[in-house]
Each structure stands twice: as C-alpha cells, then as structure tokens.
C-alpha cells in the first residue's frame, strides 16, 4: 500500500517553478531518497509534504490524508528532521525530548517509556543531562533524529541528515537510518550519492523541479549505462540539461 501518493504536485514562487507536476508514490516502510543539485526542488517537496507550505496546484496523500484538506491529520502521523539543527539549545537532551512528547500530547508514563527506549537505542544516555546547545554537531543531529522519532511517526522526513558531519558521525547515523528501514516510511534528501545508494530502496532524481527518473539504485545505474552511481547521477542530470 502507498504511504505517500503525489498527484500533480506543483509549487511556484512568482516566476520560478520550484516543483513541477510531481507524480510519485512511496510504499509503506520504504526508504525513498530525493536527489538533485541545489535548487532541484527536494526541500520544497518535503515542505509541501510536511504541510509547511501549500502546493500551488495538485495534492498529495499521506496514508490517505490530503496535505491540502487534512493538515491536522497529516501532522499527527509525520515527523521532520530539518536540514539545520532544530533543537532547543537551552534545554537538556531529555527536556528536548520531553518537549516533543508534550506537544504530541503523550501521557507522563508514555513519555518516560519512550525517552528511555529511544535514548538507549540511539546511545544518548551519556549526554541526557547536557544542554543541547553544548553538544557537538554529530550529537545534535542524533538528538534531532531522536526528536523526530519520539512521536512514533508513520512517515519520517530526513532533510540532509548527515550534512556537515565527519565520517564517523555520518557512518553512525547511517546505521541508525538503516535500522529504521521497514518500520517507518522514510523520505530522505541528500547530496551524498553513496548515502543515497547505500540506504535507499528507491531514488528519485530531480532537476529544476522536474522528476528525471525514479527507480532502484541498480536500475538507475543500468539506465545510465554505468556501474558507478555518481556517474549515473551526473549522466542523467547532464542529459536532462541538453
């Protein structure tokens, strides 16, 4: 069954078409990546799907709920980990998690259970009492993902989750994202080709708001006639420019 179905999703800003007539479906439990160079329309697509911005035309359905007509229902089943660090710096790691539990209306028992579970799983126990603003970039990103996961979303949006992290921190986050596969539907945007190839079930490549191709990493390489994913990406994006 489809977790996400986009029907002619379009966003224009004055004369600029940021997303152009996107028709895509994402299956439940799938890890789906959006790839593209800067300005391709990845973040705008995520913003529309997460009800942060209204589409100019078209619609999308998240587990059957319209992003245009049923935003409250959509917001109750999604979580977003934005591109920039999105934590409350003056609060401790635990308080940040409590904040998200509170805004989702969790009971005290449920809140405590979820925090214990998640901090153990993500290895946040060591920093649980530290202020989020004092953590390194890697820990902040880990906390950001924990804040997205704690509401038990059915659909999770990860916008450039490993941007600016060192190799070790990135590898650890890959492990976390990989372990979520099949449990949550994940939409990932990234600039790192190897990240998309390693983690994704399917990848959509976008350019200038248009969808160029959508398939498994292997099929995309096959279509581009190369066994290197980065080369395949360059071939497809440059091909579209001609």
């Amino acid at each position: 069954m489809d977790a996400i179905r986009m029907e002619g999703l379009t966003k224009t800003y004055k004369d600029v078409v940021a997303v152009d007539n996107l028709n895509l479906s994402v299956c439940k439990g799938e890890l789906f990546s959006l790839l593209g160079v800067n300005g391709a329309g990845k973040t705008t697509t995520i913003k529309m799907l997460s009800c942060l911005t209204q589409p100019t035309s078209g619609d999308a359905f998240l587990n059957g709920k319209s992003i245009c007509k049923d935003t409250a229902a959509v917001k109750s089943i999604i979580a977003v980990s934005p591109q920039e660090t999105a934590v409350a710096p003056g609060l401790s790691v635990r308080e940040n998690l409590e904040l998200i539990c509170g805004v989702h209306g969790f009971t005290k028992d449920k809140r405590n259970t979820k925090i214990t579970e998640l901090t153990k799983w993500l290895g946040l126990e060591a920093v649980i009492k530290k202020k989020a603003g004092k953590l390194s970039g890697g820990w902040q990103r880990r906390l950001s993902i924990a804040m997205a996961l704690i509401s038990q979303p059915e659909i999770l949006f990860l916008d450039e989750p490993t941007l600016g992290l060192d190799v070790l921190a990135r590898s650890e986050l890959w492990g976390i994202i990989h372990s979520l596969k099949g449990k949550v539907t994940i939409i990932l945007t990234t600039h790192y080709m190897e990240e998309a190839e390693a983690l994704s079930d399917r990848i959509a490549i976008m350019k200038d708001g248009k969808l160029l191709i959508c398939d498994t990493p292997d099929k995309i390489k096959e279509a581009a006639g190369t066994d290197n994913f980065e080369q395949a990406f360059i071939h497809i994006v440059k091909g579209a420019a001609k």
Binding site: S50, C51, P82, Q83, T85, A88, G90, V103, M147, A148
Partner: protein, 243 residues
C-alpha cells in the same frame, strides 16, 4: 496541555540565560539604587522613590520585549520553529506559548523593584499591589512589540532594534528621567502620542492612590497594546505561512 509544554520550554530558555537575568533584573535595580542615591544628595522631585519606582517598573519592561523578540528570532533561525510547525501545535498555541511565560516574569520584575523601593523608603500601601496588577496590560504591550520584532527580524537585528532603539525610546520618551515639559514642543507631542509616558503616568497615579488619574492614560496603553498584539499575531502568522 500542548501550549503549556511549549510555554514551559520558553520560560526555561529565558530564565536560563544569565544575560537575561542580569539585564532584566539587575539593570532596573541598579538604576533604582543609583538614582535614589543621587536624590539623597541632590533632591530632585522626579527621583523621589514614590515618583521614580513606577517609571523604573515600566522601563524594566523593555527587557521583556527583548526576551520575547530574541527567543522567537532564534527559534526561527535554528529551524526549531519549522520542526514545531509540523507538530499538532496550532497558531494559537504558538502565540500564547510565546506570550504567557513572559507575563509572570514581568510581574516578578515589578514586585522585586517595589521590594527594593520599600527597602529604600517607599511607604507600604495597598496601592503597590494595584500598581503591580496594572503592570500586566503594560507588559502585554511590551511583549507584543517583542513578538512583532521577533517575527520579522533575525536575532542580530533584534539586539539592535529592541536592545538599543526600543530601550532608548522607552527611556527618553517616558518622563522617567526628566520632565517632558522641560523639552516641550514637538518632542513632548511625540512622547504623548506614544504609549510609554502614558504607562508611566498611569502607574504613578495608581501608586499615589489617585485612581481618577489613570485616565486617559490607560486607554492609550490598552489601545497600543491591542494594536501591537494584532500586528504581532498577523506578522507571526504571515511568517508561519511563508515557511
């Protein structure tokens, strides 16, 4: 419940910043003590404790503008607001969550100023209680100005506009440090067209037990507070939509 969780977070963020405590509480107290010391040596009616304290309590509220503007602009800058916009929090939750936590901080600041004034010789009367109660609508005006600035400015601009410009406007155009009639002319007219001097004169009248003297000042304060709140809410909602 959701709004209270968010409001609780905002209270913690504000109170945990030592600079907020230093300026929000320390600065008005230092001014009260310093001006009372000047008054002790060179008597000036304006700096008599019953005349000075209401002005200081109103001036101290300019820091509430700074608090509310700073927290909103920082949340916008860090994408925390973007994250929270994708949660079930409603626009009303956001506006109340940013506004309500600052009201008790403003009242606490006012109470501490009056305790200091009592130590410095202010007579204890029930009017102090009324003056504290009437500081609430004035605080809403200052908080709304912060909500307004925080919705359109980044945290560096907030420092300049709210931290420097507004505190100076609130200080010079409020008749706290000097009698506006001494300058007169356009300066005095501009001052009386703005709410700051009206807030001070209203508080002075209440503390003096001259309850008819709160008019028309209270209308100016309430009028500006409503205008600022409406403008702040519409600008906040506008930037929320722009996400």
């Amino acid at each position: 419940m959701r709004m209270l969780t968010f409001a609780n977070r905002n209270t913690k963020e504000i109170l945990r910043d030592p600079l907020n405590l230093a300026f929000g509480l320390g600065f008005p107290l230092v001014l009260t003590v310093l001006l009372s010391a000047i008054q002790a040596n060179i008597p000036v009616r304006l700096f008599e404790i019953q005349h000075l304290t209401p002005g200081i309590t109103v001036f101290g509220l300019s820091f509430m503008t700074l608090f509310s503007a700073t927290i909103i602009s920082k949340d916008r800058g860090s994408s925390l607001l973007q994250r929270l916009y994708t949660t079930p929090l409603t626009p009303v939750d956001f506006i109340l969550g940013y506004t309500l936590p600052i009201v008790p901080i403003a009242v606490a600041q006012c109470v501490i100023c009056y305790i200091t004034a009592v130590i410095l010789g202010l007579e204890v009367t029930v009017n102090i209680l009324y003056a504290v109660i009437f500081i609430i609508p004035v605080s809403l005006l200052y908080i709304a100005l912060g909500l307004l600035c925080g919705s359109v400015l980044n945290d560096k601009q907030v420092g300049g506009i709210c931290g420097a410009l507004l505190t100076n406007l609130s200080a010079w155009l409020s008749s706290i440090w000097f009698d506006l009639a001494l300058v007169g002319g356009a300066f005095q007219k501009i001052a009386y067209a703005l709410p700051f001097v009206h807030a001070v004169e209203m508080e002075r009248a209440i503390l003096a037990g001259n309850f008819t003297g709160i008019f028309p000042h209270i209308w100016w304060v309430l009028g500006y507070a409503i205008i600022a709140l409406v403008a702040a809410v519409s600008l906040f909602l506008r930037q929320m939509k722009k996400q």
